[in-house]
């Protein structure tokens, strides 16, 4: 139920998307990016492209996937976009691929990459089997294929599979990938 609800939200956003992001954030026909102005009512705000083409993970037994969701004494630093295990995943923003990043130091089977934009902001995408075609230090455009979504249910039973997207500005400050 949560999956379908999230998917519907993503679909609406995709249909309604106007492709008017600025500062080098590209949109196109194959674009599931959220129109942040419509979602949040903020003028001139930007939003990253959903890397799975789906919406944000709703609340399940493992918490919610929206930015700022509770994580005990802390809050969720990023947005979880619903995924199907094995589906294609695309870059949420344009920039240079600066490094691999593993969400868990004790389990390197979970993978991801960090992309740095021209302004120094860095987006991290986790739970992706990163394609060998993705070159470190290479440039990548929003919407380019970066790999396939990983299955989290083995580690967290019944969790809604997702790709985690985290955005930090050049000073390391956390930003909401859906509107910043």
């Amino acid at each position: 139920m949560q999956n379908s609800a999230a998917g519907t939200i993503g679909g609406v956003a995709s249909t309604a998307g106007v492709g008017k992001f600025t500062n080098g954030f590209t949109t196109g026909a194959f674009d599931y990016a959220f129109n942040d102005k419509q979602l949040h009512g903020k003028k001139n705000s930007r939003a990253l492209k959903s890397p799975t083409g789906k919406g944000v993970r709703g609340k399940d037994n493992w918490g919610g996937g929206h930015y700022g969701a509770s994580r005990g004494s802390r809050s969720h630093d990023g947005v979880d976009y619903v995924s199907d295990s094995g589906q294609r995943v695309v870059a949420p923003m344009s920039g240079r691929v600066v490094r691999h990043s593993h969400p868990y130091a004790d389990d390197l089977s979970f993978d991801g990459i960090v992309i740095r934009a021209n302004d120094g902001a860095e987006v991290t995408v986790w739970y992706v089997d990163v394609s060998e075609a993705v070159k470190m230090n290479g440039m990548i455009a929003a919407g380019d294929y970066i790999g396939t979504a990983q299955d989290l249910t083995g580690r967290y039973p019944n969790i809604t599979n997702h790709v985690h997207v985290r955005l930090h500005d050049v000073k390391g400050k956390s930003l909401n990938p859906q509107g910043y």
Partner: protein, 126 residues
Amino acid sequence: MIGRLFLCLMLSLQLIACSGVGVNAEQKDFKAQYIWGEGVNAVHICNEDKEYWVRAQPKTLGELERGYLRLTSTPYEYVYITFKGELLNEKLDGFAENYDGYMRVSELLTIAATVPKNCLMKSVKK
């Protein structure tokens, strides 16, 4: 022949000593609040303002996770643990980047649902 064996034995002992296997001067007993879930695996040491990402061998991680799931009903509740461990001086990566460091839990001693009143959680830098 005996001399060569003795030499090999001494060399092996020296290598073991240098690698630190089984020897750790920083190992201490800790009391803490523990939280586990997707993207979270951390200890908040009692009465301190630091929260550390947990590192452990698979066996110990399994004990923590199973114990946590047995004692909690909703995600991201804190439980109380006592453990032997040490702080690690390693570069943080992944979800751990938002924490104050790595804590290696080498042995879980106890785990309980109720956090004692004398184990306070001071606010942490988020």
